[in-house]
């Protein structure tokens, strides 16, 4: 290997992580400049959860029993609402094409988009959930469990949702289709998320549920960004 040592171009100082940081910062700034979008998702959650006692009846025991499942299902639906916009706005203003052409690996950028989506929708949902739990008369311990299970589970929704959002980008009727694709895939998150609160209320250990939720999160972190990136490339062929 005594070939002429050409001076290799130094890797640009803009590392891969910088691209990720830029995407997250940009999406968060967009979310902050349009607070109505984030707030409408939150209010959707609150309204859906508040409808259940009206439909079922005000018996405190029944409501307390149903609360984890109701909040979790409502959180699932609420995050579906905002998922449809994850790539659709970027497609319209051309940002998506420059993301695809960027030097940063596309899966990392998708990870950034999912992270920003979680910060703008999943995190507020988890933070507001104790308030809803109070409406349903959950014990303070269960409230905490519900919030923690949402904190662990909603990132999976954003990540798996990114696959669905990438598959349906630019497709007619994307919103409904997205829910149809993503909801069956995130059933395990619902099961273990709501199950953790149930187990806590029943006095059994919640470690198993939280471990499984964390395992799902790791699986989604590893698998969802490449799949969503592949789906985006397909959309732009």
């Amino acid at each position: 290997m005594n070939a002429i040592a050409l001076p290799l171009p130094r890797p640009a100082e803009t590392g891969a992580l910088r691209g990720l940081r830029c995407v997250v910062a940009r999406d968060l700034r967009l979310a902050l400049r349009r607070p109505a979008d984030t707030l409408s998702v939150l209010f959707f959650l609150v309204i859906v959860v508040s409808l259940f006692p009206l439909g079922i009846g005000p018996e405190p025991e029944l409501l307390r029993r149903m609360a984890p499942g109701v909040v979790w299902v409502a959180a699932l639906l609420a995050s579906m609402l905002s998922l449809a916009r994850m790539f659709a706005d970027d497609l319209q203003d051309g940002t998506l094409e420059s993301l695809l052409l960027s030097a940063t690996p596309l899966p990392l950028l998708v990870l950034g988009k999912a992270l920003a989506h979680w910060l703008a929708s999943g995190l507020p949902l988890a933070l507001v959930s104790p308030l809803l739990a109070m409406q349903f008369g959950l014990a303070p311990d269960a409230m905490g469990l519900l919030a923690v299970s949402l904190l662990l589970g909603t990132p999976v929704l954003s990540l798996v949702g990114a696959i669905g959002a990438a598959l349906t980008v630019g497709v007619r009727g994307a919103g409904v289709l997205l829910s149809l694709l993503v909801l069956p895939l995130v059933v395990p998150v619902l099961i273990f998320g709501a199950g953790a609160v149930d187990a806590g209320s029943a006095g059994t250990s919640v470690a198993a549920h939280f471990s499984l939720l964390a395992a799902l999160l790791v699986l989604a972190l590893a698998g969802a960004p490449p799949a969503a990136a592949a789906a985006l490339r397909i959309a732009f062929e």
């Binding site: 598959l167 694709l181 909801l183 069956p184 059933v187 099961i191």
Partner: protein, 258 residues
């Protein structure tokens, strides 16, 4: 390159090209012949299976005559899973090698798979009513079969929502592959959910032993379902080939000859 490699004899010309049938115009007539043969054998097996199942197999000691729906229920449930795997496999091949016949095959499998999942749920409900006293319990197997049906519906809806068929093929392939990774996760989570809730007191686990005619009838019916699925899928594949490539010269000649 070492000199040894160049001194090797040239490869003999292969007399049989397996991948020749990856071309739709070559596979089209073959698909027709396989479909016809499968349909005939499927019909024979179905008659045999039903005679064994409804005539020869003994009445079940616990469930009476109601158990006889397993001769439709079990094959349908098995096929719904086998077809999902086959669909994801061919969709993956189509995605990886840009093989359009493989993608069409995956698309052709999906409706039959969805039908099988639906049939398994429907016959399961009919079986549940006389034996458990209810059409539906949130048993792990029932719930995961229902989710499998949703996955099929998602595949078909995504495919039909995208107008460009090649893009639809590839997008649906990504979904099918994500689904395959997810199916075991869904299955086990539903199973654990069920045991955690301790809800269903009935279990779908089989009786310890089944009479030989029961097993025979069931396996014959599985064969019938398998060949039926093959025949219907290949016929649908022929339609898909004509729908997509009907303007090709060979398809036009075919139309003129018909």
């Amino acid at each position: 390159m070492s000199p040894i490699a160049t001194s090797l004899p040239p490869r003999p010309p292969a007399s049989f090209h397996l991948f020749a049938y990856a071309a739709p115009q070559r596979f089209y007539p073959l698909a027709g012949r396989i479909a016809l043969a499968s349909a005939l054998v499927a019909a024979l097996l179905a008659v045999a299976g039903l005679v064994i199942g409804l005539g020869i197999a003994p009445t079940d000691a616990q469930q009476g005559e109601a158990y006889r729906i397993i001769f439709v229920h079990v094959p349908a449930a098995w096929m719904s899973m086998v077809i999902y795997l086959a669909m994801a496999f061919w969709a993956g091949i189509g995605l990886a090698f840009n093989a359009r016949l493989a993608s069409m095959f995956a698309r052709a499998l999906a409706p039959t798979g969805a039908l099988m999942a639906f049939l398994a749920l429907w016959t399961g409900a009919l079986w549940g009513k006389p034996t458990w006293g209810t059409f539906w319990v949130w048993d792990a197997r029932l719930t995961s079969e229902l989710l499998l049906l949703f996955l099929y519906i998602g595949f078909l809806s995504l495919h039909s929502a995208i107008d460009d068929v090649r893009r639809a093929d590839r997008a649906a392939a990504v979904l099918a592959l994500v689904g395959v990774v997810n199916v075991p996760v869904i299955y086990f989570s539903v199973q654990w959910w069920n045991t955690l809730h301790q809800g269903a007191s009935v279990s779908l686990s089989k009786a310890p032993s089944m009479a030989t005619p029961m097993i025979t009838g069931m396996l014959v019916m599985v064969g019938a379902f398998w060949l039926y699925a093959t025949a219907v899928t290949l016929l649908r594949l022929r339609t898909l080939i004509l729908a997509r490539e009907g303007d090709a010269a060979w398809a036009r000649r075919l139309r003129e000859a018909a």
